[in-house]
């Protein structure tokens, strides 16, 4: 017989009340866990969506010229002291201390060449990196495999008659519209090869209309374009996608600047800030709702414990009369509270995980998942215990201060 024996026996005796308390704490913790898990998953998803928007760091050659463009219309400018980027610079980006936080490093060489006799903007790219960076591209055909494979932008493909719309599609009815947006399944590739410069290349695929500059470009292997333009080893731009979950973009930019002092390195702050703001709002919302629900749970524990103390006045009086110290009364009641709170925490964690798994499809795209984090389980149980203990302090101290002579006389 120990004080804990009395606590356990009391819990067994008051199963209904214990169940009620466990449920109350469980609901509070479950709500908090569900919201935190959901916001965590939404954070991951927003992060990955933002990453999918493409590069968030752009490395360009250092130039003293001012950009001469307005509203998307470019006017040729004059450049001074322009330093070219090279393949070594792309390798340099991959050497920075935060290199593990870089998801894609996509070097490019831009130039103009004749494509089937038409002057066209060509981009030499590393297709493996480029296709990871431009996840929104919808390819008809396949990804380039050999060195001579190319991808054509939608407008270029139309210009060189490499595609034709499926009969009866809107694309067929409105071929002349420059702003027409064609879904990839609305056209098919009708040509196998195209001449770029003086060399024949195989058309691996055509990029569905994006409404962006890609529509008017041809994409070929970087080394091929470097040969074609007579600029071996040179690059025009390096696009970098940093893994943006808690990414210190500014630090990455600083490290790249240090590695490539002759280059302009700029972060696309807008997307980073928008993402951070969205995530922060979600987190704040989750925290506030969780705090409110937990406060309600704490209030419930408080009122239940207060009524339990009144209900057990006689019992506490008897225990005090037979020699239990105040601290023994506190210890016995606190053992009950801790057991109930821990059980509430475990139940709440499990219920919260289940609820968030069930609710996740309604909030996110398919593929998002709730992570089974041990830290969240530990946190849930710790907060449940803290809530239970804090809200029971007053009732328990009040119980311990019951005058035993009054308590015994009370009956």
């Amino acid at each position: 017989m120990r004080i804990s024996t009395i606590a356990f026996a009391n819990l067994r005796r008051r199963k209904g009340k214990a169940f009620f308390l466990v449920s109350g704490i469980g609901i509070g913790i479950g709500t908090a866990v569900a919201l935190l898990s959901l916001s965590g998953s939404l954070r991951e998803e927003i992060g990955s969506q933002m990453d999918r928007f493409g590069a968030n760091i752009v490395v360009t050659p250092h130039s003293d010229s001012l950009a001469l463009d307005y509203g998307g219309v470019s006017v040729a400018g004059v450049s001074f002291d322009q330093h070219q980027l090279s393949n070594d610079d792309a390798a340099g980006v991959r050497r920075i201390p935060y290199r593990k936080r870089l998801s894609v490093v996509a070097p490019k060489l831009l130039g103009t060449v004749d494509v089937d006799g038409r002057r066209t903007l060509v981009a030499g790219v590393d297709f493996a990196s480029e296709l990871r960076l431009k996840k929104w591209w919808r390819l008809v055909g396949r990804a380039p495999e050999s060195a001579t494979d190319v991808l054509l932008g939608y407008d270029v493909a139309r210009a060189v008659s490499a595609i034709e719309p499926f009969p009866g599609t809107s694309a067929d009815a409105d071929k002349s519209s420059a702003h027409h947006s064609a879904a990839p399944e609305e056209f098919r590739i009708t040509k196998e090869r195209v001449t770029i410069g003086s060399r024949e290349h195989r058309i691996a695929g055509v990029i569905g209309q994006t409404g962006g500059p890609e529509d008017r470009m041809v994409f070929a292997q970087l080394s091929q374009v470097q040969d074609l333009l007579g600029r071996p080893g040179q690059l025009s731009v390096i696009e970098v996608s940093a893994l943006c979950k808690d990414c210190p973009v500014e630090d990455i930019v600083t490290q790249i600047r240090k590695e490539l002092p002759h280059a302009n390195v700029s972060a696309i702050q807008q997307s980073v800030r928008a993402r951070a703001e969205a995530v922060d709002r979600l987190s704040r919302f989750s925290l506030v709702v969780s705090a409110v629900v937990l406060a309600i749970g704490a209030l419930m524990v408080f009122t239940t414990m207060m009524s339990a103390v009144v209900e057990r006045t006689k019992e506490i009086g008897v225990l005090r009369a037979i020699g239990f110290r105040r601290t023994h009364i506190i210890k016995g009641l606190m053992i009950e509270v801790v057991i109930i709170s821990a059980a509430g925490g475990i139940v709440g964690w499990l219920a919260g995980l289940l609820a968030s798994r069930l609710a996740l499809p309604y909030f996110t795209e398919a593929g998002a998942q709730i992570e089974l984090r041990v830290s969240l389980a530990v946190l849930a149980i710790a907060i449940a215990m803290l809530t239970g203990i804090v809200s029971s302090v007053y009732p328990v101290i009040r119980a311990s201060r019951l005058d035993p002579s009054e308590a015994v006389r009370y009956v």
Partner: protein, 241 residues
């Protein structure tokens, strides 16, 4: 020197919101020797329960001292007084106040819960006391599985578990029928015969007559009463004791 010395104890309760105190005990002095069985009688409202709770180290007197085994009880701190109760006192309540969620042996072990004894020793002591009151075979029964008399005996067993020098009983037969009341009295008299000091509050003159000495309380003051009551010897002679 008396084992228990009640020295000029007065107790005044202050009604809430009123400055005027209500005196319940007035300058009460008494002594109880070791091994004595003393009964306290008196009409309702005479201060019997107050004197019992003061003797039980639970109710601080307004004036006076309580000395048990040479210890000035109310000079101790609240926590030390709790320890004193655990070590020196055994309580038998009018309605037994058994814990309904503990079985018989667990109820008996309750006063031992806070003592630094091994579990096996606590169990041994509890079984020994249950044996004394004739409930050893029913150690695993829950209180509601025992008769009224057995519950009373179990309450006495609990009061004896910590081997207290002084047992305080508050009308232990007050709510029981005559047969069950006699059963409880028999246990108390057996204990008294073995040298246990007992102080019992009762309304029942027949039970009081079985004590070594009766104190009579009226309007908070002790009245002189005959020391030894003949009935006890008669009770013992009749073979009931």
């Amino acid at each position: 020197m008396a084992f228990v010395a009640v020295e000029n104890i007065s107790k005044t309760y202050n009604d809430q919101g009123s400055r005027i105190g209500v005196p319940v005990l007035r300058d009460v002095s008494a002594e109880i020797g070791e091994g004595e069985f003393v009964c306290l009688m008196g009409p309702s409202g005479s201060g019997k329960s107050t004197l019992l709770t003061i003797l039980g180290a639970m109710n601080h007197p307004s004036q006076g001292r309580l000395v048990i085994d040479g210890i000035d009880v109310y000079a101790l701190s609240d926590e030390r007084r709790a320890d004193f109760r655990a070590q020196y006192l055994g309580f038998v309540f009018q309605q037994h106040h058994l814990m309904p969620y503990l079985n018989a042996i667990e109820n008996v072990m309750l006063p031992l819960a806070t003592l630094p004894l091994a579990a096996i020793e606590k169990r041994r002591r509890a079984l020994e006391v249950l044996e004394k009151v004739g409930l050893a075979k029913k150690w695993s029964r829950m209180p509601n599985q025992l008769s009224g008399g057995e519950q009373g005996r179990l309450a006495i067993a609990r009061a004896l578990a910590n081997e207290p020098p002084l047992v305080l009983a508050d009308e232990p037969t007050g709510t029981l029928d005559t047969k069950t009341g006699d059963e409880i009295m028999k246990v108390l008299l057996d204990l008294s015969a073995r040298g246990q000091t007992i102080f019992m509050v009762t309304h029942n003159p027949a039970n009081a007559a079985l004590a070594h000495r009766v104190l009579y309380l009226r309007d908070g003051e002790l009245e002189p009463t005959p020391g030894v009551v003949e009935a006890r010897s008669e009770y013992c002679r009749s073979g009931r004791g």
